[in-house]
C-alpha cells in the first residue's frame, strides 16, 4: 500500500496545541465569571480578584504540564 499522505515535523507541537485548548477555555470562564460578579457587586472587587488569580493558577496547571511533556518524554539532552 503506497503512502497517500505524510506529515513530518515535531509531534510535540501538535500535542501542546491540543493540550492548550482546555485550560484556555477554563481561564476564560474563570475570568469572565469574575468580571460578571464584579459588575453585580463592585465593592467586592479586591477579594474577587484574589480568588480569580487562584482559579487561574489551578486551571493553567495542565497547560504548563503540556509544555513540559516534550522535555519529559523525549531523551533529549
Amino acid at each position: 500500500m503506497s503512502v497517500i499522505a505524510e506529515l513530518s515535523g515535531n509531534v510535540a507541537t501538535i500535542g501542546y496545541g491540543l493540550a492548550a485548548i482546555g485550560p484556555a477555555i477554563g481561564v476564560g470562564i474563570v475570568v469572565g465569571k469574575t468580571i460578571e460578579s464584579v459588575a453585580r457587586q463592585p465593592e467586592l472587587q479586591g477579594r474577587l480578584t484574589v480568588l480569580m488569580y487562584i482559579g487561574i493558577a489551578f486551571t493553567e496547571a495542565l497547560a504548563f504540564i503540556g509544555i513540559a511533556t516534550y522535555f519529559i518524554f523525549t531523551q533529549g539532552q
Partner: protein, 267 residues
Amino acid sequence: MLPLLATADDTGDGPTFVGPSVEEFFPEPVLFIGSPFEMNRIMIIRVLVALIVILVFWLGTRRMKIVPTRFQAAIEYLLAVPRNIGTDLLGEKDGARFLPLLTTIFFVVISANFTGIIPPANIASTSLIGLPMILAIVSYVTFIYAGIKKHPGAFFKNALFPPGVPKPLYLIVTPIEFVSTFVLRPVTLTLRLLMNMLVGHLLLVLFFLATNFFIVELSGGWTAVGVGILGFAFAWSGFEILVAVLQAYVFTLLTAVYLQLALADEH
C-alpha cells in the same frame, strides 16, 4: 540538542533566517571553567541581581525615620505588597509569622524576572529550572512544616482523607488528593514561573532576530516589515514587564494560599 523552532529552509540563494533554540539558555561558561562552580553568563547575572536587591534593601532600611524620606517611602510601599498578601490570607498572627518567607519569594521572583527585560542582561534569571525549583521546594517544605506543626498527628490524615466523604469513595479521592496536594503543587509552581519566563524570552529573541534579519540582511521593501517587527518587540517587552510582576504576585499568593489551606482548622 533540542531545536524548538526549525530553521526556515530557503531553496533560493537569499539569506536564511535562523531562529532561537534552546541553546539560548545554555551559554558558554565564563568563570571557573571545569570546576563545580563554573559560571556562565546567566549565573553571573543571577548573582549580580541578588547583590543588587540586597544593596537596595540595605540602603532603604538603614537610618529609618518616622517621617520617611522618599527612598524609604518607596521601599515601604514595595514591602507592603507581600505583607498585604500575607495578612489578607493568613490573618495577623500567621501573616507576621510567614512574612519573611513571602517577602523573600516575592522580591527574588520579581527581580529575577526583570533581568529579562533590562538590556545588558536580556535573560530572565528564572528561565532556567534551578531558581523556580528552589523557590517551589522552599514553599512546599514550608507549608508541610506549617501543617504538621499546627495539627501534629492529623495533617496528613486530613489532607489525604478529607472528612465528610463516604468510606468507599476514599479509594478514588485519596490518590487524587495525594497527587494534587503533594505532587502537583510544587511542580506547577515551578513550571508556571519557568514556562512564562522561558516562552517570553524566546519570543523576544525571535522578534529581535527577525528585526535584524529583515532590516540588515534583506533590503528594499522588507525593511518596513522589519520596523513593524521592532514595534512588536517593544510591545512584547511591555507585556513581559506585566508578566514579570504578575508571576511574582501569583507565586507569592499561591504560597500564602497553600499555607492557609495547611493551617485551616476543620469545620
